[in-house]
Subunit: 327 residues, 2 copies
Protein backbone atom coordinates (compact mmCIF):
# COMPACT_ATOMS: atom_id res chain seq x y z
CA UNK A 1 0.00 0.00 0.00
CA UNK A 2 2.71 2.48 1.08
CA UNK A 3 4.83 1.65 -1.99
CA UNK A 4 1.82 2.18 -4.30
CA UNK A 5 1.03 5.51 -2.68
CA UNK A 6 4.63 6.75 -2.97
CA UNK A 7 4.75 5.56 -6.58
CA UNK A 8 1.54 7.47 -7.42
CA UNK A 9 2.89 10.66 -5.87
CA UNK A 10 6.23 10.25 -7.64
CA UNK A 11 4.33 9.88 -10.95
CA UNK A 12 2.42 13.11 -10.34
CA UNK A 13 5.63 14.93 -9.37
CA UNK A 14 7.47 13.77 -12.50
CA UNK A 15 4.67 14.11 -15.05
CA UNK A 16 3.81 17.63 -13.91
CA UNK A 17 7.48 18.54 -13.33
CA UNK A 18 6.60 19.79 -9.85
CA UNK A 19 10.09 19.33 -8.39
CA UNK A 20 12.69 19.59 -11.18
CA UNK A 21 16.24 18.29 -10.50
CA UNK A 22 17.97 20.31 -7.80
CA UNK A 23 14.78 21.87 -6.41
CA UNK A 24 14.68 22.87 -2.74
CA UNK A 25 11.15 22.61 -1.46
CA UNK A 26 9.54 24.21 1.57
CA UNK A 27 6.61 22.23 3.01
CA UNK A 28 3.56 24.04 4.38
CA UNK A 29 2.55 22.18 7.55
CA UNK A 30 -0.73 22.77 9.40
CA UNK A 31 -0.50 19.58 11.44
CA UNK A 32 -3.58 18.01 9.78
CA UNK A 33 -3.36 14.59 8.16
CA UNK A 34 -2.75 15.90 4.62
CA UNK A 35 0.21 18.12 5.45
CA UNK A 36 1.75 15.65 7.91
CA UNK A 37 1.58 12.97 5.20
CA UNK A 38 3.02 15.44 2.67
CA UNK A 39 5.96 16.11 4.99
CA UNK A 40 6.71 12.44 5.72
CA UNK A 41 6.35 11.44 2.05
CA UNK A 42 8.49 14.24 0.60
CA UNK A 43 11.23 13.44 3.13
CA UNK A 44 11.05 9.80 2.00
CA UNK A 45 11.09 10.69 -1.72
CA UNK A 46 13.95 13.19 -1.28
CA UNK A 47 16.14 10.31 -0.05
CA UNK A 48 16.10 8.76 -3.53
CA UNK A 49 14.95 11.49 -5.92
CA UNK A 50 16.81 14.55 -7.13
CA UNK A 51 15.30 17.27 -4.92
CA UNK A 52 15.72 18.25 -1.28
CA UNK A 53 13.49 19.45 1.55
CA UNK A 54 14.52 22.96 2.64
CA UNK A 55 12.31 22.83 5.73
CA UNK A 56 8.77 23.07 7.01
CA UNK A 57 6.77 26.18 7.79
CA UNK A 58 3.76 26.57 10.06
CA UNK A 59 1.50 29.59 10.19
CA UNK A 60 -0.39 30.16 13.44
CA UNK A 61 -3.71 31.78 12.48
CA UNK A 62 -4.63 32.37 16.15
CA UNK A 63 -8.18 31.42 15.24
CA UNK A 64 -8.66 28.25 17.25
CA UNK A 65 -8.29 27.32 20.91
CA UNK A 66 -5.79 24.71 19.83
CA UNK A 67 -3.54 27.13 17.89
CA UNK A 68 -0.64 26.99 20.37
CA UNK A 69 -0.80 23.22 20.70
CA UNK A 70 -0.86 22.92 16.88
CA UNK A 71 2.29 25.02 16.55
CA UNK A 72 4.13 22.93 19.15
CA UNK A 73 3.04 19.75 17.38
CA UNK A 74 4.46 21.00 14.07
CA UNK A 75 7.74 22.14 15.63
CA UNK A 76 8.12 18.72 17.27
CA UNK A 77 7.48 16.90 14.00
CA UNK A 78 10.12 19.02 12.23
CA UNK A 79 12.64 18.36 14.99
CA UNK A 80 11.96 14.61 14.90
CA UNK A 81 12.53 14.58 11.12
CA UNK A 82 15.66 16.75 11.44
CA UNK A 83 14.14 19.55 9.33
CA UNK A 84 14.46 23.32 9.53
CA UNK A 85 11.33 24.89 11.04
CA UNK A 86 9.88 28.35 10.53
CA UNK A 87 6.70 29.72 12.06
CA UNK A 88 4.88 32.99 12.34
CA UNK A 89 1.56 34.17 13.68
CA UNK A 90 -0.97 36.89 12.99
CA UNK A 91 -4.36 38.00 14.26
CA UNK A 92 -6.25 36.82 11.18
CA UNK A 93 -9.65 37.83 12.51
CA UNK A 94 -8.49 41.42 13.11
CA UNK A 95 -6.82 41.61 9.68
CA UNK A 96 -9.99 40.25 8.02
CA UNK A 97 -12.22 42.88 9.59
CA UNK A 98 -9.72 45.70 8.92
CA UNK A 99 -9.37 44.70 5.25
CA UNK A 100 -13.05 43.71 4.84
CA UNK A 101 -12.11 40.19 3.79
CA UNK A 102 -13.69 36.87 4.70
CA UNK A 103 -11.70 35.13 7.43
CA UNK A 104 -10.88 32.41 4.89
CA UNK A 105 -9.47 34.94 2.39
CA UNK A 106 -7.56 36.83 5.05
CA UNK A 107 -6.04 33.60 6.37
CA UNK A 108 -4.97 32.58 2.87
CA UNK A 109 -3.30 35.91 2.11
CA UNK A 110 -1.40 36.10 5.37
CA UNK A 111 -0.41 32.44 5.18
CA UNK A 112 0.98 32.68 1.65
CA UNK A 113 2.84 35.92 2.45
CA UNK A 114 4.48 34.13 5.37
CA UNK A 115 5.26 31.02 3.26
CA UNK A 116 7.03 33.15 0.65
CA UNK A 117 9.13 34.85 3.34
CA UNK A 118 10.01 31.49 4.91
CA UNK A 119 10.88 30.07 1.46
CA UNK A 120 13.22 32.98 0.75
CA UNK A 121 14.80 32.61 4.18
CA UNK A 122 15.50 28.90 3.54
CA UNK A 123 16.53 29.35 -0.11
CA UNK A 124 13.61 27.20 -1.22
CA UNK A 125 12.38 27.58 -4.80
CA UNK A 126 9.11 25.65 -4.40
CA UNK A 127 6.39 25.60 -1.73
CA UNK A 128 4.55 22.29 -1.40
CA UNK A 129 0.99 22.33 -0.06
CA UNK A 130 -1.19 19.37 0.88
CA UNK A 131 -4.26 19.53 -1.39
CA UNK A 132 -5.62 16.06 -2.14
CA UNK A 133 -7.89 14.39 -4.66
CA UNK A 134 -10.78 15.05 -2.25
CA UNK A 135 -10.05 18.79 -2.30
CA UNK A 136 -9.91 18.55 -6.09
CA UNK A 137 -13.34 16.85 -6.31
CA UNK A 138 -14.83 19.38 -3.88
CA UNK A 139 -13.45 22.29 -5.85
CA UNK A 140 -14.73 20.99 -9.18
CA UNK A 141 -18.21 20.37 -7.79
CA UNK A 142 -18.24 23.67 -5.90
CA UNK A 143 -17.32 25.64 -9.02
CA UNK A 144 -19.97 23.81 -10.97
CA UNK A 145 -22.83 24.43 -8.53
CA UNK A 146 -21.74 28.04 -8.11
CA UNK A 147 -22.33 28.44 -11.83
CA UNK A 148 -18.73 28.87 -12.93
CA UNK A 149 -19.74 27.19 -16.17
CA UNK A 150 -18.81 30.10 -18.42
CA UNK A 151 -15.14 29.84 -17.66
CA UNK A 152 -13.43 28.71 -14.55
CA UNK A 153 -14.77 25.18 -14.62
CA UNK A 154 -12.07 22.68 -13.88
CA UNK A 155 -10.04 21.87 -10.85
CA UNK A 156 -7.05 22.99 -8.85
CA UNK A 157 -3.83 23.13 -10.85
CA UNK A 158 -0.96 20.89 -9.63
CA UNK A 159 1.32 23.92 -9.95
CA UNK A 160 0.72 27.62 -9.77
CA UNK A 161 3.87 29.71 -9.80
CA UNK A 162 6.13 28.42 -7.03
CA UNK A 163 3.31 26.55 -5.25
CA UNK A 164 3.11 22.80 -6.00
CA UNK A 165 0.54 20.15 -4.99
CA UNK A 166 2.12 16.68 -5.08
CA UNK A 167 -0.87 14.99 -3.35
CA UNK A 168 -3.48 16.09 -5.86
CA UNK A 169 -4.05 12.59 -7.23
CA UNK A 170 -4.24 10.67 -3.96
CA UNK A 171 -7.17 10.48 -1.57
CA UNK A 172 -7.27 11.66 2.02
CA UNK A 173 -8.26 8.14 3.02
CA UNK A 174 -5.08 6.69 1.49
CA UNK A 175 -3.04 9.34 3.32
CA UNK A 176 -4.52 8.60 6.75
CA UNK A 177 -4.03 4.86 6.08
CA UNK A 178 -0.38 5.64 5.27
CA UNK A 179 0.07 7.71 8.45
CA UNK A 180 -1.49 4.95 10.54
CA UNK A 181 0.79 2.36 8.94
CA UNK A 182 3.94 4.39 9.72
CA UNK A 183 2.66 5.27 13.21
CA UNK A 184 2.65 9.02 12.57
CA UNK A 185 0.14 11.09 14.58
CA UNK A 186 -1.77 14.09 13.20
CA UNK A 187 -4.17 16.78 14.44
CA UNK A 188 -7.91 16.62 13.75
CA UNK A 189 -9.35 19.89 12.46
CA UNK A 190 -12.67 20.50 14.23
CA UNK A 191 -13.63 23.55 12.16
CA UNK A 192 -13.75 21.30 9.08
CA UNK A 193 -16.74 19.50 10.57
CA UNK A 194 -19.01 22.58 10.61
CA UNK A 195 -21.85 21.71 8.20
CA UNK A 196 -23.14 25.28 7.93
CA UNK A 197 -20.12 25.90 5.67
CA UNK A 198 -21.06 24.89 2.08
CA UNK A 199 -17.65 23.38 1.32
CA UNK A 200 -17.93 21.22 4.42
CA UNK A 201 -21.45 20.13 3.41
CA UNK A 202 -20.06 19.08 0.04
CA UNK A 203 -17.22 17.24 1.76
CA UNK A 204 -19.15 15.51 4.50
CA UNK A 205 -22.62 15.06 2.99
CA UNK A 206 -22.80 15.39 -0.79
CA UNK A 207 -19.55 13.70 -1.91
CA UNK A 208 -19.95 10.69 0.43
CA UNK A 209 -23.49 10.29 -0.87
CA UNK A 210 -22.17 10.42 -4.46
CA UNK A 211 -19.45 7.89 -3.62
CA UNK A 212 -22.13 5.63 -2.16
CA UNK A 213 -24.17 5.94 -5.38
CA UNK A 214 -21.12 5.28 -7.59
CA UNK A 215 -17.97 3.92 -6.10
CA UNK A 216 -15.08 6.06 -7.31
CA UNK A 217 -17.31 9.08 -7.93
CA UNK A 218 -14.94 11.56 -6.23
CA UNK A 219 -12.01 10.27 -8.23
CA UNK A 220 -14.02 10.53 -11.44
CA UNK A 221 -15.03 14.11 -10.63
CA UNK A 222 -11.43 15.07 -9.84
CA UNK A 223 -10.26 13.65 -13.17
CA UNK A 224 -13.04 15.29 -15.11
CA UNK A 225 -11.94 18.54 -13.49
CA UNK A 226 -8.38 18.04 -14.62
CA UNK A 227 -9.46 17.40 -18.20
CA UNK A 228 -11.86 20.36 -18.21
CA UNK A 229 -9.09 22.58 -16.90
CA UNK A 230 -6.82 21.53 -19.74
CA UNK A 231 -9.51 22.04 -22.39
CA UNK A 232 -10.60 25.36 -20.93
CA UNK A 233 -7.06 26.73 -20.64
CA UNK A 234 -6.46 26.11 -24.31
CA UNK A 235 -9.85 27.50 -25.41
CA UNK A 236 -9.32 30.55 -23.19
CA UNK A 237 -5.89 31.16 -24.74
CA UNK A 238 -7.37 30.92 -28.28
CA UNK A 239 -10.13 33.33 -27.24
CA UNK A 240 -7.63 35.82 -25.80
CA UNK A 241 -5.76 35.85 -29.13
CA UNK A 242 -8.99 36.35 -31.06
CA UNK A 243 -10.10 39.10 -28.69
CA UNK A 244 -6.86 40.98 -29.34
CA UNK A 245 -7.43 40.60 -33.09
CA UNK A 246 -11.07 41.74 -33.21
CA UNK A 247 -11.49 44.15 -30.29
CA UNK A 248 -11.01 47.88 -30.23
CA UNK A 249 -11.33 49.94 -27.07
CA UNK A 250 -13.50 53.03 -27.50
CA UNK A 251 -14.35 55.95 -25.20
CA UNK A 252 -17.62 54.32 -24.21
CA UNK A 253 -16.59 50.69 -24.13
CA UNK A 254 -15.47 48.04 -26.60
CA UNK A 255 -16.30 47.23 -30.20
CA UNK A 256 -15.74 43.93 -31.97
CA UNK A 257 -15.31 43.11 -35.66
CA UNK A 258 -18.61 41.29 -36.23
CA UNK A 259 -17.73 39.99 -39.68
CA UNK A 260 -14.60 38.28 -38.37
CA UNK A 261 -16.43 36.86 -35.34
CA UNK A 262 -19.07 35.30 -37.59
CA UNK A 263 -16.43 33.03 -39.14
CA UNK A 264 -14.99 31.79 -35.86
CA UNK A 265 -16.11 28.70 -33.87
CA UNK A 266 -18.81 29.20 -31.25
CA UNK A 267 -16.85 28.02 -28.16
CA UNK A 268 -14.20 30.66 -28.92
CA UNK A 269 -16.67 33.40 -29.86
CA UNK A 270 -18.63 32.85 -26.64
CA UNK A 271 -15.44 33.46 -24.65
CA UNK A 272 -14.60 36.60 -26.64
CA UNK A 273 -18.10 37.95 -25.95
CA UNK A 274 -17.67 37.14 -22.26
CA UNK A 275 -14.41 39.12 -22.15
CA UNK A 276 -16.07 42.09 -23.88
CA UNK A 277 -19.17 41.95 -21.65
CA UNK A 278 -16.97 41.84 -18.55
CA UNK A 279 -15.06 44.88 -19.79
CA UNK A 280 -18.17 47.06 -19.58
CA UNK A 281 -19.86 45.29 -16.64
CA UNK A 282 -17.64 46.63 -13.86
CA UNK A 283 -18.15 44.32 -10.91
CA UNK A 284 -21.53 43.03 -12.16
CA UNK A 285 -21.76 39.36 -12.91
CA UNK A 286 -22.14 38.05 -16.46
CA UNK A 287 -24.28 34.95 -16.95
CA UNK A 288 -24.91 32.54 -19.79
CA UNK A 289 -28.13 34.46 -20.56
CA UNK A 290 -26.16 37.63 -21.34
CA UNK A 291 -23.85 35.74 -23.67
CA UNK A 292 -26.87 34.29 -25.46
CA UNK A 293 -28.52 37.68 -25.86
CA UNK A 294 -25.27 39.06 -27.26
CA UNK A 295 -25.02 36.12 -29.66
CA UNK A 296 -28.57 36.96 -30.78
CA UNK A 297 -27.49 40.53 -31.58
CA UNK A 298 -24.42 39.26 -33.40
CA UNK A 299 -26.62 36.86 -35.40
CA UNK A 300 -29.00 39.73 -36.23
CA UNK A 301 -31.97 37.96 -34.65
CA UNK A 302 -32.34 41.03 -32.43
CA UNK A 303 -31.23 44.64 -32.91
CA UNK A 304 -29.80 45.38 -29.51
CA UNK A 305 -30.00 44.36 -25.89
CA UNK A 306 -29.32 45.69 -22.42
CA UNK A 307 -26.58 43.86 -20.57
CA UNK A 308 -25.09 44.37 -17.09
CA UNK A 309 -23.54 47.83 -17.01
CA UNK A 310 -24.53 48.85 -20.53
CA UNK A 311 -25.88 47.90 -23.92
CA UNK A 312 -24.91 45.81 -26.97
CA UNK A 313 -25.83 46.85 -30.51
CA UNK A 314 -24.82 45.93 -34.02
CA UNK A 315 -23.76 49.02 -36.01
CA UNK A 316 -22.68 48.27 -39.54
CA UNK A 317 -20.02 45.57 -39.18
CA UNK A 318 -19.24 46.33 -35.55
CA UNK A 319 -20.68 44.77 -32.42
CA UNK A 320 -20.72 47.80 -30.15
CA UNK A 321 -20.69 47.34 -26.36
CA UNK A 322 -21.19 50.63 -24.56
CA UNK A 323 -21.17 51.43 -20.89
CA UNK A 324 -24.26 52.93 -19.31
CA UNK A 325 -24.27 56.71 -19.57
CA UNK A 326 -21.33 56.74 -21.98
CA UNK A 327 -23.19 56.00 -25.22
CA UNK B 1 -45.76 32.35 -13.72
CA UNK B 2 -47.47 30.53 -16.61
CA UNK B 3 -46.56 33.32 -19.04
CA UNK B 4 -42.92 33.23 -17.91
CA UNK B 5 -42.76 29.47 -18.32
CA UNK B 6 -44.24 29.57 -21.83
CA UNK B 7 -41.88 32.39 -22.75
CA UNK B 8 -38.85 30.40 -21.56
CA UNK B 9 -39.92 27.34 -23.58
CA UNK B 10 -40.58 29.49 -26.65
CA UNK B 11 -37.07 30.96 -26.29
CA UNK B 12 -35.51 27.48 -26.20
CA UNK B 13 -37.59 26.37 -29.20
CA UNK B 14 -36.55 29.40 -31.26
CA UNK B 15 -32.90 29.65 -30.29
CA UNK B 16 -32.27 25.96 -30.93
CA UNK B 17 -34.58 25.92 -33.98
CA UNK B 18 -36.39 22.89 -32.57
CA UNK B 19 -39.66 23.47 -34.47
CA UNK B 20 -38.93 25.37 -37.69
CA UNK B 21 -41.87 27.06 -39.51
CA UNK B 22 -44.35 24.48 -40.80
CA UNK B 23 -43.15 21.64 -38.55
CA UNK B 24 -45.63 18.95 -37.53
CA UNK B 25 -44.67 17.57 -34.17
CA UNK B 26 -45.62 14.29 -32.53
CA UNK B 27 -45.59 14.39 -28.73
CA UNK B 28 -44.39 11.39 -26.72
CA UNK B 29 -46.78 11.05 -23.77
CA UNK B 30 -46.16 8.74 -20.81
CA UNK B 31 -48.75 10.40 -18.58
CA UNK B 32 -46.15 11.69 -16.09
CA UNK B 33 -46.01 15.37 -15.20
CA UNK B 34 -43.26 16.25 -17.72
CA UNK B 35 -44.97 14.80 -20.79
CA UNK B 36 -48.45 16.02 -19.76
CA UNK B 37 -47.02 19.53 -19.38
CA UNK B 38 -45.20 19.17 -22.71
CA UNK B 39 -48.50 18.24 -24.39
CA UNK B 40 -50.52 21.08 -22.87
CA UNK B 41 -47.78 23.65 -23.53
CA UNK B 42 -47.09 22.68 -27.15
CA UNK B 43 -50.84 22.79 -27.86
CA UNK B 44 -50.90 26.28 -26.36
CA UNK B 45 -47.82 27.46 -28.30
CA UNK B 46 -49.09 25.95 -31.57
CA UNK B 47 -52.10 28.28 -31.35
CA UNK B 48 -49.85 31.30 -31.93
CA UNK B 49 -46.58 29.96 -33.32
CA UNK B 50 -45.87 28.57 -36.76
CA UNK B 51 -45.92 24.82 -36.08
CA UNK B 52 -48.67 22.27 -35.46
CA UNK B 53 -49.21 19.26 -33.22
CA UNK B 54 -49.64 16.12 -35.33
CA UNK B 55 -50.78 14.07 -32.35
CA UNK B 56 -49.66 12.28 -29.23
CA UNK B 57 -48.23 8.79 -28.93
CA UNK B 58 -48.15 6.51 -25.90
CA UNK B 59 -46.10 3.36 -25.60
CA UNK B 60 -47.34 0.74 -23.16
CA UNK B 61 -44.24 -1.00 -21.78
CA UNK B 62 -46.35 -3.59 -19.92
CA UNK B 63 -43.89 -3.32 -17.06
CA UNK B 64 -46.06 -1.86 -14.33
CA UNK B 65 -49.35 -2.84 -12.70
CA UNK B 66 -50.72 0.51 -13.76
CA UNK B 67 -49.82 0.12 -17.47
CA UNK B 68 -53.45 -0.25 -18.66
CA UNK B 69 -54.68 2.64 -16.53
CA UNK B 70 -51.79 4.81 -17.83
CA UNK B 71 -52.73 4.10 -21.44
CA UNK B 72 -56.39 4.99 -20.80
CA UNK B 73 -55.30 8.21 -19.07
CA UNK B 74 -53.20 9.24 -22.10
CA UNK B 75 -55.96 8.38 -24.57
CA UNK B 76 -58.43 10.46 -22.54
CA UNK B 77 -56.07 13.44 -22.42
CA UNK B 78 -55.63 13.30 -26.22
CA UNK B 79 -59.37 13.12 -26.73
CA UNK B 80 -59.97 16.04 -24.39
CA UNK B 81 -57.42 18.13 -26.30
CA UNK B 82 -58.84 17.02 -29.67
CA UNK B 83 -55.53 15.42 -30.71
CA UNK B 84 -54.82 12.32 -32.75
CA UNK B 85 -53.73 9.43 -30.53
CA UNK B 86 -51.52 6.45 -31.33
CA UNK B 87 -50.48 3.70 -28.96
CA UNK B 88 -48.73 0.39 -29.07
CA UNK B 89 -47.51 -2.16 -26.56
CA UNK B 90 -44.75 -4.72 -26.23
CA UNK B 91 -43.47 -7.16 -23.67
CA UNK B 92 -40.35 -5.16 -22.83
CA UNK B 93 -39.11 -7.59 -20.18
CA UNK B 94 -39.23 -10.53 -22.63
CA UNK B 95 -37.49 -8.49 -25.37
CA UNK B 96 -34.79 -7.39 -22.90
CA UNK B 97 -33.96 -10.94 -21.87
CA UNK B 98 -34.07 -12.24 -25.46
CA UNK B 99 -31.75 -9.45 -26.68
CA UNK B 100 -29.60 -9.43 -23.51
CA UNK B 101 -30.35 -5.76 -22.89
CA UNK B 102 -31.09 -3.95 -19.67
CA UNK B 103 -34.82 -3.36 -19.24
CA UNK B 104 -34.10 0.37 -19.55
CA UNK B 105 -32.28 -0.05 -22.88
CA UNK B 106 -34.89 -2.44 -24.25
CA UNK B 107 -37.70 -0.03 -23.29
CA UNK B 108 -35.90 2.85 -25.00
CA UNK B 109 -35.35 0.95 -28.25
CA UNK B 110 -38.89 -0.34 -28.51
CA UNK B 111 -40.36 3.03 -27.53
CA UNK B 112 -38.37 5.00 -30.12
CA UNK B 113 -39.14 2.43 -32.84
CA UNK B 114 -42.83 2.88 -32.06
CA UNK B 115 -42.54 6.69 -31.95
CA UNK B 116 -40.93 6.73 -35.42
CA UNK B 117 -43.73 4.56 -36.81
CA UNK B 118 -46.39 6.76 -35.21
CA UNK B 119 -44.65 9.90 -36.54
CA UNK B 120 -44.62 8.49 -40.07
CA UNK B 121 -48.26 7.50 -39.74
CA UNK B 122 -49.23 11.04 -38.69
CA UNK B 123 -46.89 12.80 -41.17
CA UNK B 124 -44.95 14.32 -38.26
CA UNK B 125 -41.39 15.50 -38.92
CA UNK B 126 -40.35 16.00 -35.29
CA UNK B 127 -40.88 13.96 -32.11
CA UNK B 128 -41.01 16.02 -28.90
CA UNK B 129 -39.98 14.35 -25.65
CA UNK B 130 -40.30 15.71 -22.11
CA UNK B 131 -36.76 15.89 -20.71
CA UNK B 132 -36.36 18.74 -18.24
CA UNK B 133 -33.60 20.76 -16.64
CA UNK B 134 -33.62 18.23 -13.78
CA UNK B 135 -32.95 15.39 -16.23
CA UNK B 136 -30.17 17.52 -17.70
CA UNK B 137 -28.52 18.10 -14.29
CA UNK B 138 -28.84 14.39 -13.44
CA UNK B 139 -27.28 13.36 -16.74
CA UNK B 140 -24.36 15.76 -16.41
CA UNK B 141 -23.61 14.60 -12.87
CA UNK B 142 -24.14 10.94 -13.76
CA UNK B 143 -21.71 11.13 -16.67
CA UNK B 144 -19.21 12.88 -14.48
CA UNK B 145 -19.30 10.36 -11.62
CA UNK B 146 -19.23 7.46 -14.09
CA UNK B 147 -15.90 8.82 -15.31
CA UNK B 148 -16.99 10.02 -18.73
CA UNK B 149 -14.39 12.75 -18.36
CA UNK B 150 -12.39 11.82 -21.42
CA UNK B 151 -15.12 12.68 -23.84
CA UNK B 152 -18.83 12.47 -23.39
CA UNK B 153 -19.00 15.03 -20.61
CA UNK B 154 -21.78 17.46 -21.15
CA UNK B 155 -25.50 17.15 -21.12
CA UNK B 156 -28.45 16.06 -23.21
CA UNK B 157 -28.71 17.84 -26.56
CA UNK B 158 -31.92 19.83 -27.19
CA UNK B 159 -32.13 18.14 -30.58
CA UNK B 160 -30.85 14.84 -31.89
CA UNK B 161 -32.07 14.01 -35.38
CA UNK B 162 -35.86 14.27 -35.39
CA UNK B 163 -36.12 14.14 -31.57
CA UNK B 164 -36.48 17.54 -29.84
CA UNK B 165 -36.56 18.50 -26.15
CA UNK B 166 -38.37 21.82 -25.67
CA UNK B 167 -38.46 21.52 -21.83
CA UNK B 168 -34.72 21.17 -21.36
CA UNK B 169 -34.34 24.59 -19.72
CA UNK B 170 -37.29 24.46 -17.31
CA UNK B 171 -37.50 22.60 -14.03
CA UNK B 172 -39.85 19.79 -13.12
CA UNK B 173 -41.05 21.89 -10.23
CA UNK B 174 -42.12 24.73 -12.55
CA UNK B 175 -43.94 22.21 -14.72
CA UNK B 176 -45.94 20.68 -11.88
CA UNK B 177 -46.78 24.20 -10.65
CA UNK B 178 -48.02 24.97 -14.17
CA UNK B 179 -50.14 21.80 -14.30
CA UNK B 180 -51.64 22.57 -10.90
CA UNK B 181 -52.45 26.13 -11.99
CA UNK B 182 -54.26 24.93 -15.13
CA UNK B 183 -55.95 22.08 -13.23
CA UNK B 184 -54.41 19.33 -15.32
CA UNK B 185 -53.93 15.96 -13.62
CA UNK B 186 -50.93 13.66 -14.19
CA UNK B 187 -49.76 10.20 -13.19
CA UNK B 188 -47.14 9.65 -10.50
CA UNK B 189 -44.40 7.24 -11.50
CA UNK B 190 -43.68 4.97 -8.54
CA UNK B 191 -40.69 3.24 -10.12
CA UNK B 192 -38.91 6.60 -10.14
CA UNK B 193 -38.84 6.51 -6.35
CA UNK B 194 -36.73 3.34 -6.13
CA UNK B 195 -33.49 4.48 -4.46
CA UNK B 196 -31.55 1.34 -5.36
CA UNK B 197 -31.36 2.80 -8.90
CA UNK B 198 -28.35 5.17 -9.07
CA UNK B 199 -30.14 7.72 -11.25
CA UNK B 200 -32.97 7.87 -8.72
CA UNK B 201 -30.48 8.29 -5.87
CA UNK B 202 -28.97 11.23 -7.73
CA UNK B 203 -32.44 12.67 -8.33
CA UNK B 204 -33.93 12.18 -4.89
CA UNK B 205 -30.90 12.34 -2.58
CA UNK B 206 -27.79 13.93 -4.10
CA UNK B 207 -29.25 16.77 -6.19
CA UNK B 208 -31.67 17.96 -3.47
CA UNK B 209 -28.76 17.94 -1.05
CA UNK B 210 -26.71 20.01 -3.54
CA UNK B 211 -29.61 22.41 -4.03
CA UNK B 212 -29.83 22.78 -0.27
CA UNK B 213 -26.11 23.58 -0.10
CA UNK B 214 -26.31 26.07 -2.99
CA UNK B 215 -29.65 27.31 -4.18
CA UNK B 216 -29.80 26.95 -7.95
CA UNK B 217 -27.17 24.17 -7.98
CA UNK B 218 -29.15 21.94 -10.37
CA UNK B 219 -29.66 24.80 -12.77
CA UNK B 220 -25.94 25.66 -12.63
CA UNK B 221 -24.98 22.03 -13.31
CA UNK B 222 -27.40 21.84 -16.25
CA UNK B 223 -25.89 24.99 -17.75
CA UNK B 224 -22.34 23.86 -17.19
CA UNK B 225 -23.32 20.68 -19.03
CA UNK B 226 -24.62 22.65 -21.97
CA UNK B 227 -21.42 24.67 -22.22
CA UNK B 228 -19.22 21.60 -21.84
CA UNK B 229 -21.20 19.89 -24.58
CA UNK B 230 -20.58 22.80 -26.93
CA UNK B 231 -16.85 22.97 -26.14
CA UNK B 232 -16.43 19.20 -26.39
CA UNK B 233 -18.28 18.93 -29.70
CA UNK B 234 -15.96 21.45 -31.26
CA UNK B 235 -12.79 19.93 -29.79
CA UNK B 236 -13.95 16.45 -30.87
CA UNK B 237 -14.53 17.67 -34.41
CA UNK B 238 -11.03 19.25 -34.53
CA UNK B 239 -9.56 15.99 -33.19
CA UNK B 240 -11.39 13.92 -35.82
CA UNK B 241 -9.86 16.11 -38.55
CA UNK B 242 -6.40 15.76 -37.05
CA UNK B 243 -6.81 11.99 -36.65
CA UNK B 244 -7.63 11.68 -40.35
CA UNK B 245 -4.52 13.73 -41.18
CA UNK B 246 -2.02 11.86 -38.96
CA UNK B 247 -3.36 8.29 -38.70
CA UNK B 248 -2.60 5.35 -40.93
CA UNK B 249 -4.31 1.98 -40.48
CA UNK B 250 -1.85 -0.93 -40.52
CA UNK B 251 -2.33 -4.72 -40.44
CA UNK B 252 -1.70 -4.78 -36.72
CA UNK B 253 -3.38 -1.56 -35.65
CA UNK B 254 -2.84 2.16 -36.16
CA UNK B 255 0.18 4.39 -36.49
CA UNK B 256 0.30 8.13 -35.97
CA UNK B 257 2.67 10.78 -37.31
CA UNK B 258 4.47 11.65 -34.07
CA UNK B 259 6.28 14.70 -35.45
CA UNK B 260 3.00 16.29 -36.51
CA UNK B 261 1.29 15.42 -33.20
CA UNK B 262 4.09 17.11 -31.27
CA UNK B 263 3.14 20.49 -32.77
CA UNK B 264 -0.57 20.25 -31.98
CA UNK B 265 -2.33 21.46 -28.80
CA UNK B 266 -2.69 18.97 -25.96
CA UNK B 267 -6.53 18.92 -25.70
CA UNK B 268 -6.69 17.89 -29.36
CA UNK B 269 -3.78 15.44 -29.17
CA UNK B 270 -5.33 13.74 -26.15
CA UNK B 271 -8.51 13.11 -28.15
CA UNK B 272 -6.55 11.78 -31.13
CA UNK B 273 -4.71 9.36 -28.81
CA UNK B 274 -8.05 8.28 -27.34
CA UNK B 275 -9.42 7.50 -30.79
CA UNK B 276 -6.30 5.49 -31.67
CA UNK B 277 -6.29 3.62 -28.34
CA UNK B 278 -9.97 2.75 -28.79
CA UNK B 279 -9.25 1.43 -32.27
CA UNK B 280 -7.02 -1.32 -30.87
CA UNK B 281 -8.84 -1.83 -27.55
CA UNK B 282 -11.88 -3.68 -28.86
CA UNK B 283 -14.51 -3.41 -26.16
CA UNK B 284 -12.02 -2.69 -23.38
CA UNK B 285 -12.32 0.64 -21.65
CA UNK B 286 -9.73 3.39 -22.08
CA UNK B 287 -9.00 5.57 -19.06
CA UNK B 288 -7.12 8.79 -18.46
CA UNK B 289 -4.15 6.69 -17.23
CA UNK B 290 -3.80 5.05 -20.65
CA UNK B 291 -3.82 8.40 -22.38
CA UNK B 292 -1.14 9.63 -20.02
CA UNK B 293 1.07 6.61 -20.58
CA UNK B 294 0.69 7.11 -24.33
CA UNK B 295 1.57 10.79 -23.96
CA UNK B 296 4.70 9.68 -22.07
CA UNK B 297 5.69 7.45 -25.01
CA UNK B 298 5.01 10.28 -27.46
CA UNK B 299 7.12 12.64 -25.33
CA UNK B 300 9.94 10.03 -25.23
CA UNK B 301 9.90 9.87 -21.44
CA UNK B 302 9.27 6.13 -21.82
CA UNK B 303 10.03 3.74 -24.67
CA UNK B 304 6.79 1.81 -24.86
CA UNK B 305 3.82 0.76 -22.78
CA UNK B 306 1.12 -1.89 -22.65
CA UNK B 307 -2.40 -0.54 -23.14
CA UNK B 308 -5.80 -2.30 -23.21
CA UNK B 309 -5.76 -4.76 -26.10
CA UNK B 310 -2.19 -4.06 -27.22
CA UNK B 311 0.94 -1.97 -26.99
CA UNK B 312 2.18 1.53 -27.87
CA UNK B 313 5.72 2.21 -29.05
CA UNK B 314 7.61 5.01 -30.74
CA UNK B 315 9.41 3.79 -33.87
CA UNK B 316 11.32 6.48 -35.72
CA UNK B 317 8.77 9.24 -36.27
CA UNK B 318 5.73 6.99 -35.84
CA UNK B 319 3.70 6.31 -32.72
CA UNK B 320 2.79 2.67 -33.34
CA UNK B 321 -0.27 1.16 -31.67
CA UNK B 322 -0.45 -2.59 -32.24
CA UNK B 323 -3.09 -5.06 -31.22
CA UNK B 324 -2.13 -7.94 -28.98
CA UNK B 325 -0.85 -10.95 -30.95
CA UNK B 326 -0.67 -8.94 -34.19
CA UNK B 327 2.66 -7.20 -33.64
Amino acid sequence: MVAGLLQQIRRTVRREALLPPGTKVLIALSGGSDSVALTCILVQLAATDDFSVAGVAHFNHQLRDTAERDEVFCRDLATRLGLEFRSDRADVAAYASAQRLSVEDAARRLRYAFLRTAAADLFADRIAVGHTLDDQAETVLLKMVRGAGLTGLGGISPQKGDVVRPLLEVSKRDLTAYLTSVNAPWLEDETNQDLSNPRNRLRHVVLPSLDETYSGASRAIARAGELMRMDAQWLDARAAELFDAVAETTESGVQLDARRLATEPRPIVRRVLLTALRAIAGNREIGLDHIRLTEDVLGRSCGGTDVPGGRVELRREKLVLSQQGLR
